[in-house]
Amino acid sequence: MKNLLIEGKEIPLDKEGFLRHLEDWSPQVAEALAAQENIALTEDHWDVIRLLQDFYREFELSPAMRPLVKYVGQHLGAEKGRSIFLMQLFPPSPAKIGSKIAGLPKPTNCL
């Protein structure tokens, strides 16, 4: 995967497009990572991105799909805590694609 170029700074990515250095993350980086997945970020996307980052701060790991659905349900309400909502935002694999755009490591139990 090619590295990102954000405001003149080169941001290294691994071969699957995850950030090599988590501290490189910024909203601009998120926009660029999303663009690579053909996703235009809306307010709903940002809500989930912030939650993914909260999840990582709280547990020091990236969530798999089921826990992500549960966590979103706890924080954004049952209406959004459903896989279909997340699938629409981050197809085709919300835990993986969402983690990537939020600047988290690839979920370790993402089989």
């Binding site: 709280e58 020091e60 826990p67 993402c110 089989l111």
Partner: protein, 121 residues
């Protein structure tokens, strides 16, 4: 779909001396993500995994922080061997994991024998 077998993961090792504790946690999380949520028993030095820890100095991720994710992965009860705690001079209050219920097990042999399959870490 056949009936799934009951599954127990034994966590027997202290958190950072080797990679057993982390391997165990990752196996449990992977099972849970695949809808095969196991029960988890902390026994022997494994009980130390549940205590407050600060591994920044050795460049490790905080295992207890990871364990706190168990409830959201569907593992809401953490079983702990009572005898392992007592022989290490620990009290159950020192083991709190938010969102999970800690249950002490007296007769661990009988408890373990009640499962179809046991993974040992």
């Amino acid at each position: 779909m056949v009936d799934s077998k009951s599954l127990l993961a034994l966590c027997r090792h202290a958190p950072y001396g080797n990679s057993m504790a982390r391997e165990g946690l990752e196996a449990v999380l992977a099972c849970a993500a695949m809808d095969q949520t196991p029960e988890v028993l902390f026994i022997n030095d494994g009980v130390f995994q549940l205590m407050e820890q600060n591994p920044v100095a050795i460049g490790e991720k905080n295992l207890r922080r990871n364990l706190q994710a168990l409830p959201i992965f569907g593992v809401e009860t953490l079983f702990v061997c009572e005898n392992s705690l007592r022989t290490r001079g620990l009290k159950p209050e020192q083991l709190e994991i938010p969102g999970a219920e800690v249950k002490l097990v007296k007769d661990t042999g009988a408890f373990i024998a009640g499962f179809d399959q046991v993974l040992s870490f």
